[in-house]
């Protein structure tokens, strides 16, 4: 077996406030191989999104180790994590998180702003990404002028524009009707099979999880098998 793209070892995540302590993840260990399409399932509040955020290096574990492409990353600071997020990771969120004041193409090129490259090059890559998600004719629209499914496809284009190795999707079909959600699911499958992108998807939908290669089930912050 090749080296995992991302691996967690005995990861614990605790949220503390003045009054209480909430254990969101407890002794979670897992590894994801390059090219895999895996899903994370579990009831609301079980820690799915927290697990995805830890995998995506946008949340730090309270304890345990995170390894990305063989490199321990748990102890890295913001300045070291930022380029890893930029080059290796792409995110798709349930609520799209598009910037409403920017046109579609400006939204898509966002991750490219944080790496070297010319405006022309950024535009070319953004148009390519939009073509992959079938929205090459919507480059100058504003997000509010698009349907929910189209907005999520823009979000997918933004996530893949930087050609990341790992795509993290947090309930990407959660806000969509069945037809649009099928569009997005098909798109993710295509990205996995055709581009070899590793995908981790949080979902509530068993049918969609069944279409992935592996399912991680979480309950009260713990992986169950």
């Amino acid at each position: 077996m090749s080296e995992p793209l991302v691996a967690l070892s005995e990861v614990q995540k605790v949220y503390r406030t003045d009054r209480m302590e909430t254990v969101a993840l407890q002794a979670v260990s897992l590894s994801i191989q390059p090219g895999e399409f895996v899903s994370i399932m579990g009831p609301s509040g079980c820690g799915k999104s927290t697990l995805l955020n830890v995998l995506g290096l946008i949340d730090k574990p309270t304890q345990g180790q995170v390894t990305f492409a063989g490199r321990p990353v748990s102890g890295l600071g913001d300045a070291e994590l930022a380029p890893i997020r930029n080059k290796e990771l792409g995110f798709v969120f349930q609520s799209f998180h598009l910037i409403p004041d920017l046109r579609v193409i400006d939204n898509v090129e966002l991750p490219l702003l944080y790496r070297k490259g010319t405006w022309r090059e950024r535009r070319r890559l953004a148009r390519e990404a939009l073509a992959i998600v079938g929205l090459e004719n919507r480059v100058d629209h504003f997000p509010t002028e698009l349907s929910g499914g189209q907005q999520q496809r823009v979000a997918v284009a933004r996530a893949i524009v930087g050609k990341p190795n790992l795509l993290l999707a947090d309930e990407p079909t959660g806000n969509l009707d069945s037809q649009m959600s099928e569009e997005i699911m098909t798109l993710l499958e295509r990205l996995n099979t055709e581009q070899g992108t590793t995908i981790v998807m949080v979902t509530h939908d068993q049918a969609k999880a069944d279409r992935t290669q592996r399912i991680f089930r979480l309950f009260d912050g713990q992986l169950i098998h």
Partner: protein, 428 residues
Amino acid sequence: MLRNYLKITFAVLMRRKFLTFVNLFGAALTVTVLVVAYALFDSFVNPPGAQHRQSQILTFSSLMLDGRPVSFLTTAPGFKLYENYVAPLTTPDKTSFTLEPFETSSYVGGRKITSQLRVTDAAYWDILDFELIEGRLLAADDVDQGRFVAVINEATANTWFPGESALGKSIVANTESYEVVGVVANEPVTSVLAYADIWTPLTTNPIYYNDWTNLNGQVMLYVEDTSRHAAVREELRQAIEDFDIPENPGIYQRVAARAWTPLETLATGLIGAITPSPGFDFDRVADGYLVSRVPEFLAVAGAVMLLFMSLPAINMANLNIGRILERAPEIGLRKAAGASRRVLASQFIFENVVLSALGGLLALALAPLLLGLLNDTLVTYGRLSLNGPVFAAAFVFVLVFGVLSGAYPAWQMARLEPAVALRGSQHV
């Protein structure tokens, strides 16, 4: 990247138009006041018109005489002191004596007219560069022979002789009648050496030239090469060391004189000169007396400006924090997309500098109106304007204001944890 930043900047500004208006108004008002203050300062330090060569002029208008326990005197040079101790100096290229202008009233057609009268020697007209409208300036002969002739400015000419040439006509000042031989352009009150309405030879009345000391005396020491200022000061110091007031011989054992650039004069005028206390050490006080207060003045002026800017900047920062809370998901998204804290903070400061720059543009439209108002009212014959240095100062103010008001919110924004920000957390 800048293009993207600009797009989001303008988009954010358009989201909350009233908030944007408040921000812009605050920035514009602050920068306007600072620009006007700087224009005033600049008019003293780099005056237009006759005094435009003032960087080459040292002004000797104060001296300290120590005759304790009998007397101690802080005064200014009179013409006799000038004639005997300053005129012979060899390091200045030209020297001149004049008195500060004083008020004189006359009646023209039953109407009382108040003018500022200045008495001068002939060299005064060589050192300063007056714009001659008609006639001629005062000449050496006029001074040598004590002729009752006068040069007046345009405003006085228009008041006394509206619609006709003033040349050859008589004008009354300080109860004496003078023949007008020349008309020069108005010089603003901020040009402390050139300002007056009427100029006459100082030899027209012994009270102007018979004193060894005169509280209104102004001596100009002109050098072509400003690097010789130090040499001029030293020669003046040595020459004045031997000065003794003939009317009171032997009383004053020690004398200190200072010759300053206009900035040094302004700085000491505003900060305050050394005030000796009883029993002071003359040499130590004289050292302080001779040293200009420019560093203190610049420090105080800078602190006042920063303080003045900081109040609206704090207000603007507060409003900006509100905007940040609204933009938490965007911040989380940008962090997830690979923006580091430094990059995000830079973006927000950039946005704020753009907002301040817009306020600065408004200020550049407002400031000329205010400067025009000052020129017509408080600043007699004022020529306050948005010139190159003032424009550059405005640019600096905009930059400092933008950074001041953006730095704290930017830091707050940049330290948001991405996962927390993506949830739209209201805690910064």
